[in-house]
Point group: C2
Chain length 146, copies 2
DNA sequence: TCTTACTTGAGAAGTATTATCAAAATCAGT
DNA sequence: ACTGATTTTGATAATACTTCTCAAGTAAGA
């Protein structure tokens, strides 16, 4: 059994929830999907492969992943929430291309350290943060110059 | 006439729009409101003071403020968009208390510089960015410990 | 196996925001 | 100030995304 599956199972047991085939199927599809997938996109992807699982269940299950620590919800400007696997993944931030929706992840320890400093100066206990840089990626910049 | 009023007027003239009493009233209320006000909150605030301006017009006008460079739209996790005056205000980021919704603004040039560096390394042309730290403010921390 | 409690799919409902449209208001040119 | 063209307005419908509701189905534990 994969580690993600184990984590989900332990969360399910701990909270007196139930292991269902729908949840396994959605986890499998989620692990298979591209990072930053939306509920709608995951639903379509599964449907195209013959699944009959409803959209509401996909939403419910993605939220379950978030509460079990497997995933995190992100929102980048466009209305849709996106979900990304965070288990065993270091914290990172995002560069988002407004032309082609490319999302690049990056890590920067110096920025993290400065954030901690700012929080301390304001007597804040920070539980999460997000940093997003919006702009145009190199590919789209090339296209624009032609 | 205040500077903000002038800026709005020049945007209106430039784009062949019309100066209306509704727009003046909303601008006045906006300048008077707390920072990071939502459309709904601004609408209620005005209504409570006797205004009969519709919610749709408040939304439209806040968007107008954004395109004229007076304001910027922000989204902090909860579904609502918030608007903040940006004219003559330096760029800044936010600390958000999840307990009491307190929002603290801060500026940090070192972080800004590091962001530029990251963008450069990824050949990104950044047009905007946002950094938000979510957590618990000092007041709420105090309350929790009692 | 039985019972209880959780989960499911379908569609209704909710939330935040934008679109539609007829009536009213503003602007530019006289 | 008058007029006509164009924009703006308020009310409400529509939209987009997500959660809720509920009856029927299913898993877990005694």
């Amino acid at each position: 059994m994969e580690k993600e599956e184990e984590l989900l199972k332990s969360h399910i047991t701990k909270h007196h929830l139930k292991a269902t085939k729908e949840r396994s199927a959605i986890l499998k599809a989620f692990l298979d999907s591209e990072r930053h997938v939306s509920a709608e996109a995951l639903y379509r992807q599964m449907k195209d492969e013959g699944s009959t699982i409803g959209l509401a269940t996909v939403y419910r299950t993605l939220n379950l992943f978030c509460s079990s620590g497997l995933a995190e919800q992100r929102r980048f400007g466009d209305g849709q929430a996106r979900y990304e696997l965070t288990y065993n993944v270091d914290h990172h931030d995002h560069l988002i291309c407004k032309e082609c929706d490319l999302i690049i992840e990056f890590e920067n320890d110096e920025i993290e350290a400065l954030q901690k400093k700012v929080a301390k100066e304001n007597n804040f206990k920070v539980s999460s943060h997000r940093l997003e840089l919006y702009g145009v990626c190199s590919e789209c910049l090339k296209e624009k110059s032609t």
